[in-house]
């Protein structure tokens, strides 16, 4: 297993300790649980957004705990759900009476643990709402979109709900924004190569030297089709077709684009993909309002990428433009950094 690890059993705890050691000004590791919260939490009167999920997806999930984003995160082992106690601990450390939004990807283990946490919080009269991110169009047909898995589109849900919470929106409002964002978000990915779960020590799946799998999930869940690797422009066009038709999006629409690397695919290739997306959207008269290209939700060293489109209206645009800052993601406000460039 070609990895920089010590005892694989300690993989999760050690990398989280590394994160906590690197960013004490921004993040606080809870004493009793593998959960990180904003160093400046709780913030009076602010809805606390709590996320969580398995490890192996950095910067998802803990990378989105910060200003204008989430307030806390419960961290599971690689590809495993965190426990309800971690979720409860994160919620208790960050809530200030304005309620808690649980915002995370649609995976059964996570759903069960967050549900259990909600039940526990209810007993101490802490109100919570849950919004599941279900953006992976490859994982269920369109009429069944609420059954879909959550992938890189999580980023947009954090960004927009986080902006609403930072603007002191009520729990209802923040949950509404999160739901609206999820309903306006579609993703699809393609994988070229597997990753290795440290405790398992061998690749999560096998794939031929010249093959790709369109629609594969970020834990290696089966996709829509496996086939011969095609030129970047063709692969991009296939993903874009699936996403655009799923909305559907018409000329005049405005979108945010996220090109997400799964781990080992170089940034250069992500920009070759972005180039084609830009052309395709231009041809269709769809306007790119903002774009994000890089690693936002990975599967350790998996090869591949995903495309996410978020359909925007005025409310969502304003929230998207709001500033955000975590150790892993920084977006200056409309004025830019350093007071104007």
């Amino acid at each position: 297993m070609k990895k920089f690890v010590n005892d694989p059993k300690n993989f999760t705890r050690e990398y989280v300790e590394g994160v906590a050691a690197a960013h004490p000004d921004q993040l606080r590791l809870l004493d009793d649980a593998l959960s990180l919260v904003r160093a400046d939490s709780p913030k009076d009167g602010k809805v606390a957004i709590i996320t969580g999920g398995g490890s192996g997806h950095l910067p998802t999930f803990l990378g989105y705990v910060g200003y204008g984003l989430c307030d806390g995160v419960a961290i599971g082992d690689v590809f495993q759900s965190p426990g309800a106690d971690q979720i409860v601990a994160a919620a208790e450390a960050t809530q200030s009476g304005a309620g808690v939004l649980f915002l995370f990807g649609h995976y059964s283990g996570d759903v069960m643990n967050f549900d259990m946490a909600a039940e526990i919080l209810e007993m101490s009269d802490i109100e919570s709402k849950t919004v599941l991110v279900t953006d992976d169009v490859a994982s269920a047909p369109r009429d069944n979109w609420q059954k879909r898995r959550g992938v890189a589109g999580l980023f947009f849900a954090y960004k927009l709900a986080g902006a609403k919470a930072e603007a002191m929106g009520s729990l209802e409002e923040v949950a509404r924004v999160a739901e609206k964002t999820v309903a306006a978000t579609r993703s699809m990915g393609v994988a070229l190569s597997p990753c290795i779960i440290p405790e398992v020590g061998k690749p999560t799946f096998e794939i031929g030297e010249n093959e790709m799998e369109i629609g594969m999930g970020i834990h290696g869940e089966r996709g829509i089709r496996r086939g011969e690797l095609k030129p970047a422009d063709e692969v991009t066009a296939e993903l874009m077709d699936a996403i655009i038709n799923d909305f559907p999006l018409d000329s005049g629409a405005e979108v945010a684009v996220l090109v997400n690397g799964l781990g080992s695919t170089p940034l250069e290739e992500l920009y070759i993909v972005y180039r084609k997306i830009d052309q395709l959207l231009g041809d269709k008269g769809i306007k790119v309002y903002r774009n994000y290209v890089g690693e936002f939700a990975t599967s350790m060293e998996m090869g591949g990428f995903s495309i996410t489109l978020l359909k925007l209206d005025d409310e969502l645009k304003e929230l998207l433009d709001a500033p955000a800052q975590s150790p892993f993601f920084i977006q200056p406000g409309p004025g830019g950094i350093a007071g104007g460039r």
Binding site: Q80, P82, G83, A84, D85, Q86, G109, N113, M123, R222
Partner: protein
């Protein structure tokens, strides 16, 4: 017959022992159609629960189970761990404020647990899960209690759990990790259902309840 917390703690101690005894067996079952962690996580969970019981100084049974669910989940946030935790907490809710349990209370608690697990995991009979042993066993217990003593009824329940476990062999998994195997899951019994047979085997032991 009415059960006090002392006896509950004794049952939980025995249960932790028995799960530890069956650890390897559970790992084997889960390795065949899952990731093989079931024996390890359940061993951790039940021994933490038994520990907590041995240190519990009050007599409110409901309150103990309420917090016991979280204790369990903390060391076992796996699928089955979360479902068992949910079951434990639901028993706690059902038994809120009680310092002793009648046979009816026991049935009501187990029913609440089974319902909690169904609710949390959105599973049904026939999905090839722990429910396929748990639900028939609880039903058998309730039915038997109409005409028989607790001891006998628990033995029936255990027997039914084992039958339910056996039947999962022929089913195709619809939920959780095992469902990824699709038809490949047929022919192998469900590990979670196996856990239920261990639990009921302890409840059915002489001199406990």
């Amino acid at each position: 017959m009415a059960v006090k917390f002392e006896q509950v703690a004794a049952v939980l101690g025995k249960l932790a022992e028995e799960v530890a005894n069956k650890k390897e067996w559970l790992v084997e079952l889960d390795s065949a159609i899952g990731d093989g962690d079931l024996g390890l996580t359940m061993d951790r969970g039940f021994s933490a629960l038994a520990n907590a019981a041995s240190e519990y100084s009050e007599d409110d049974i409901g309150k103990f189970f309420m917090t016991g669910g979280l204790t369990f989940n903390k060391v076992a946030p796996s699928t089955m761990g979360t479902l068992v935790s949910t079951g434990i907490m639901r028993m706690g809710k059902e038994w809120k404020g009680k310092t002793e349990l009648t046979p009816e209370d026991v049935v009501a608690g187990l029913k609440a647990a089974a319902n909690g697990i169904m609710e949390r995991g959105k599973g049904q009979l026939g999905d090839k899960t722990a429910l396929d042993a748990l639900i028939p066993a609880v039903e058998a217990l309730e039915e038997s209690l109409k005409s028989e003593e607790m001891r006998e009824a628990l033995k029936k329940a255990h027997q039914t759990a084992v039958e339910g476990f056996e039947k999962t062999k022929e089913m195709q998994s619809k939920l959780g990790r095992a469902s990824w195997f699709q038809e490949g899951s047929i022919g192998k019994p469900d590990p979670g259902a196996g856990l239920m047979t261990v639990i009921f085997s302890v409840l059915a032991k002489d001199d406990l309840l």
